[in-house]
């Protein structure tokens, strides 16, 4: 048997009322792989992400994590399964400081019960967590912002903080929803480097409109159109695929 996929979605169908948002879609992400999902607006990319993160329960389909079938996760269980998701836009707790944002992201790491949480016990775990927060902030080069309120951050920095909060729970798979959206050239270059560095031991699932990012960092790409998987392959294969080119004509001139 080959190495089981980190995550496999099999024949996922999602209906919203009478509308079929996803139709019999299967994808898999292997360990250490960067997988991209592209498609025109309304193709079902975000719905697929929502299925994977427990926000939408599909009409039918199966989920395998590490080769084992399991039920669709509840949203709060996600980080415990080694999955961590960033949202479109910013998606931070605007009231909380950068460090506090990261600490909320680490909820799955602190296993203590209500009363221990209330009393703030677990000194050793607390110290370990603090140093982990400091490490992630350093890794993303945002240490200087540690004590700032999330609401006061420049946009590119808040995108990095969102990444940092996703990383703090020690995910094995990172789900990035349009991480390059709204970023300038320099920050996009930084992001590409970051994704490639992260996948040395983990996997990444990426929804993105920036073809430059997708084509540069992805090992494989799935293409959705009107809720259906119309193509799947390496960036080079996708670029040449006539069906993909047709789907994209008019919206994105070249791939």
């Amino acid at each position: 048997m080959h190495d089981p996929a980190a995550i496999r979605l099999e024949s996922v169908t999602v209906d919203f009322g009478g509308l079929r948002a996803l139709s019999d879609v299967s994808i898999e992400i292997n360990p250490g792989e960067v997988v991209g999902i592209i498609g025109p607006n309304g193709a079902g990319k975000t719905t697929l992400f929502n299925v994977l993160s427990g926000l939408v329960t599909p009409t039918s389909g199966c989920l395998y994590i590490g080769g084992v079938q399991r039920s669709w996760p509840k949203v709060h269980e996600l980080t415990g399964l080694g999955l961590s998701r960033t949202l479109q836009g910013v998606g931070l707790f605007s009231d909380l400081s950068v460090t506090e944002n990261l600490l909320v992201g680490a909820t799955n790491l602190s296993k203590h019960n209500f009363f221990r949480a209330l009393l703030g016990l677990d000194g050793a775990a607390e110290t370990a967590l603090q140093s982990r927060v400091a490490g992630v902030l350093r890794e993303l080069d945002i240490t200087d912002y540690a004590d700032r309120d999330a609401a006061s951050l420049p946009y590119p920095i808040s995108k990095r903080v969102a990444l940092a909060r996703a990383l703090i729970s020690e995910p094995t798979t990172l789900l990035l929803d349009e991480p390059a959206g709204g970023l300038g050239v320099e920050d996009i270059a930084w992001l590409k480097e970051f994704v490639l560095k992260f996948r040395t031991d983990k996997s990444v699932l990426l929804v993105e409109h920036h073809m430059d990012v997708i084509m540069n960092v992805c090992d494989r790409i799935y293409v959705l159109n009107f809720g259906q998987l119309i193509a799947h392959g390496t960036p080079a294969e996708i670029r040449e695929n006539p069906e993909v080119i047709t789907a994209y004509l008019g919206s994105e001139a070249t791939l």
Partner: protein, 296 residues
Amino acid sequence: MFIDTLLIGISSGAIYSLMALALVLVWRSTRVVNFAQSGQAVLSTYIGYEISVSTHNYWISLPLAILVGAILGSLVDLLFMRLLMGRANSGPIAEIAPVIATLGLLGLIQSFVGLIWGNAFLHYASPLSGKGFSFGTHTIPFSPQNLFIVVASAVVLAIFGAIFKYTDLGLALRASSFQPEIAQLAGVRVSRVRNIGWAFAGSAGAVAGAVITPTSTLSPNSLDLLFVSGFIAAVIGGLDSLVGAVIGGLVLGVGFAFILQYIGGSVTFLVGFIILMAVLLARPRGIFGHKVNRRA
């Protein structure tokens, strides 16, 4: 005279702060103004009263009343609000139904209390004297029970402040209150955290009821005016700010005391409502309310 009035104002302001805090805690966790709060507080106070009657000990009844308040708060969320909000979850009804429901629940609880204990004025006694401290020949209206009210309120407020600021639970409460979806994605069990918010609110209201009632009498509606003051205080403070609730309560308590002293009791609530309207007109989000729209 000035100091006397100030002390009395702080004592009643402390109670308003507790009630305001209870409202703020529920508002932050569920976005509902919980009009049933005074009913919950009165029920926990009746239970405290029963315990003090059977044990002859106020100091045993007080923590138990607080515990009952917390359990009641949690149950109201679990058995009532959660079901309701699950069913009325879209359209204009989703905004208004929970608030109306808390009003209904208030009536329900007060009728239940009336059914069990009747409408007589009961005396929930505390061992602390209700007579003012004396300095030589001068007796001030501020009594040992008033002092206890101030101390107990300060302790409760400090405990909640510390929980919010320094504990994981407090962080989860703050994270869940404005961006529940993101909190869930970050691994927070938002519904559980919400329930703890309701329990905390219930316990804050229970403290208010159990420490203020020995200064007057207990009846099914005895905490209603207190609730109104707490509500005004919470709105002045911004409804989502803990600090605002405390300051709003103290400002209102001291303000009322001075009005009562220098103008007369008939206008205190009139002034309260004028303050409420003025704050709402000038600064609808309250003095300490948050600027940005939190519904991310």
